[in-house]
Amino acid sequence: MKILKISRGFDLNVAEQPDLNCAQLALPSSLGCCAGDIPHIRPKLLVKEGQRVKTGDALFTDKRDTTIQYVSPGTGQVEKVIYGHRRRLMEVVIATESEDEYVEYDPVDLDGIIDMPRDALVTVLKKGGLWQGLRQFPALDFADPDHSPALIIVVMDGNDIFSPRPGIILKDNITAFEAGMAVLRRFSNRLAVVCRKSSLEGIREQSSSVADQITHAAPDIYPAWLPGAVLYQIKQQAAENSTWYIRLDHLVMMGRFLLSGRYPVEKIVTITRPGEQHPHMRVRQGMPLSALIGAMPGNSIVTTGRFNGRVLEKDAHIGFFENTVNIIETGPEEEMFGFARPGLDKPTLSSTFLSSLFRRPANMDCTLHGETRACINCSYCERICPNDLMPSFIMKALHAGELEDALALGLMDCCRCGLCSFACPSKIELTRILSDAMDAYYKDKQ
């Protein structure tokens, strides 16, 4: 096992670590299939309100590739279809029945996966609603099945500091994991399996054979374990720029789907809330937020990741790619003489607050802590960027319309970890600027 080294990033010291127990939540009265967290998708609805669907029935597809399906996580009637900005499909909500009725596929065993024609494997995964778990760099669109990637990265940990622990996801799922790995080996002969150092122990407890397959351990510095940061560390040649990656939970789902022939509806989710420790939760895909967190605390936002993710509205359902819910309190709206306080409890990268003298767990709130100003060239963003980028120079190149310069400076290597925006004292939305530019460039090339 190789140890990845990363010197830049956010050295974690955050309160609110979730409990390592696992609680099972009951089936809620509604489930959602969400399109809000899927990058680049142009969704096309396949069902009508009032129509009854089985678990595993396709609800919508991607106009760019209609063989890729997004399927229902439960059985029942389509209660409503929610559209967002410009009538973009956001969610299909199912009113659930207590008994599941599944769309059945032929189960395949481990040898079957190895012998199955590649096309057939792709087709069944696309139809079963699991192909999209495989993402392709640099734009993080779904993997192009016609491409043979030089490398596939399996990331054991999620996008957030407190994403579910791999040990808990792996529990009772070791064969499913092996099946998933067998699928990946059909597409590339080089796999890199990466996990956080602090997750190793939990994985070993579940299965030493899984632990033995881990090729890289990432230090517990955010975002060392994010796929984009991992790729940047291990990449040796330009051919690896279009590497694929998959997260452990999706890999396990793929395995379970193939072994059982049914859409795997289960998912492990963590909730973090200030001042409280919640256990990991075993829930259905598409769980409504209200069933997960109960009443939403006032004056706070709910996100699917502190540094990267999206804001969830009160009545939202969590999406296919989301398995962490952070409840972050708003700080005081305006602080008297805020700029002059000693700041014992204010997490910061600089050393301008007393908090930098002590390593106490940081209480983070979801406010901007200042106002937007022009870039002052302070390089805080560069100092924290895990992928050795200079976000301020890339931003300036983009503002000047010099896309070529921005690309030469490594724009497409940005892993959208959010740290540059976190650090910027001028409160410039660097991550947003870079991320929008990457998406625009990708869209342009298509």
């Binding site: 640099p138 990449k235 040796q236 330009a238 936002i301 990741g305 502190r306 540094f307 990267n308 993710g309 999206r310 804001v311 952070n326 708003t330 709206e333 305006e334 008297m336 003489f337 805020g338 700029f339 002059a340 700041g343 910061t348 990268l349 600089s350 050393s351 301008t352 607050f353 709130d365 979801c366 406010t367 901007l368 802590h369 200042g370 106002e371 100003r373 022009a374 870039c375 002052i376 060239n377 302070c378 390089s379 560069e382 050795d388 200079m390 120079f393 690309l407 030469a408 400076l409 497409m412 290597d413 959010g418 740290l419 925006s421 976190f422 650090a423 910027c424 004292p425 001028s426 409160k427």
Partner: protein
């Protein structure tokens, strides 16, 4: 209970925002309000948590780091005036007299500078930038205590307008605005900025000159260090700062203290300061080792070069201005080292124009973008291309 101050701002808000009567003055209202109440809006885009450091605090730390030199400057102005008058004054009198000379300069600088800042904020419709808190204090610290106040007003106006606003405001300027203002005065009104202008007060007694250490040269075979000692500029005095000079620059000790605050809080980039000191030391040692020039500054050695004149002040507070310095780390090293190098070269090579650090910084400000460009080119060439 609601904070009474907060109530004032809430009550006056309708006048200054939207279509209020005094909408024009919104930047002033806003700047005052945000001075008292740090605004914190909710994040709507990732990341949803943000660092607590903002530009107000950033600039406040710079002002904090300037306080030692400011207070010492006020004291020393009074102290030197006392010597000039041939008397030895007690500490409080030194402070009071010093304050009478220095505070008006600072007040004029802030008042006039803020007026311009405000005007441009209104024209451009943006918020008042905190950067001026620093510029407005840095500028007076580079001036002699005898400067006429109208020149202060003129200098800061030039610094703000030509040094900053014509480039598009804070963050876009190429030159350090405070230094630009000071250079403008230096070339426009040389009489006020050089020669025997560094001691406040009228009645100079015999044997007390009003010139800075840099204007000393050894005469008739006397070595420069001996000549400096004779003139009352021993190394110890230069280090502690009880010598004539610009208000803020005389004390190496206080400058180092300020530099330490800036480096420890990581507000200034240490590369510029360390690089600058290294550049100065290395260059002055090399110059020292070249034979000849006994009586000139080439023979002064690194310690005198460090402590005399405004080098430490310049490298700690002027060169570290992040906007006009390079934005890449290798660029910062080169930038600092080149300032150190040029400072010595100008002092040694041009006895008519001793204070080299100001020109060195402005000169390197101009080259900062080029340094960045070269570093970026090199760094890009090392990346595995991803397009």
């Amino acid at each position: 209970m609601k904070n009474p101050l907060k109530k004032i701002f809430d009550d006056t808000k309708p006048f200054f925002t939207g279509d209020g009567k005094y909408k024009k003055y919104e930047p002033i209202w806003d700047a005052t309000k945000t001075f008292f109440f740090l605004p914190s809006q909710k994040n709507s885009f990732m990341p949803f948590v943000r660092d607590h450091l903002d530009l107000k605090r950033y600039m406040s730390i710079v002002v904090l780091s300037l306080l030692p030199v400011t207070f010492f400057g006020i004291y020393n102005t009074g102290y030197q005036a006392g010597i000039g008058a041939g008397e030895s004054w007690p500490v409080t009198q030194c402070f009071l007299v010093g304050a009478c000379y220095v505070l008006p300069i600072i007040i004029v600088s802030y008042a006039v500078g803020f007026a311009w800042e405000f005007l441009f904020a209104v024209i451009r419709g943006h918020n008042i930038s905190e950067g001026f808190l620093v510029t407005g204090l840095l500028f007076p610290l580079t001036l002699p205590p005898t400067i006429p106040l109208w020149q202060v007003a003129l200098g800061i106006s030039f610094g703000v307008i030509i040094g900053k606003e014509v480039f598009g405001g804070t963050g876009r300027n190429i030159l350090n605005p405070a230094l630009t203002g000071r250079a403008f005065l230096f070339f426009s009104y040389p009489v006020s900025m050089s020669g025997d202008v560094w001691v406040a007060g009228k009645h100079l007694v015999d044997g007390v000159t009003g010139a800075t250490a840099l204007s000393v040269t050894g005469a008739g075979g006397q070595s420069i260090t001996a000549a400096l000692g004779d003139a009352g500029y021993s190394l110890g005095q230069l280090f502690t700062g009880f010598v004539p000079g610009s208000v803020g620059e005389t004390s190496a000790l206080c400058c180092l203290f300020g530099a330490a605050i800036l480096m420890v809080t990581r507000i200034a980039n240490y590369r510029v300061i360390i690089g600058g000191i290294a550049g100065l030391v290395i260059t002055s040692v090399i110059v020292y080792l070249i034979p000849g020039g006994q009586e000139s500054w080439s023979n002064a050695g690194p310690l005198y070069h460090l402590c005399a004149g405004g080098f430490l002040f310049g490298i700690s507070f002027m060169a570290t201005d992040p906007v006009s310095a390079p934005g890449t780390n290798p660029g910062r090293w080169i930038f600092g080292a080149a300032i150190g190098f040029l400072t010595v070269i100008i002092r040694v090579g041009n006895p008519a124009f001793m204070e080299g650090v100001m020109l060195a910084i402005l000169f390197m400000n101009v080259f900062a973008p080029l340094l960045d460009h070269l570093v970026l080119k090199y760094k890009s060439s090392k990346r595995i291309p991803n397009v």
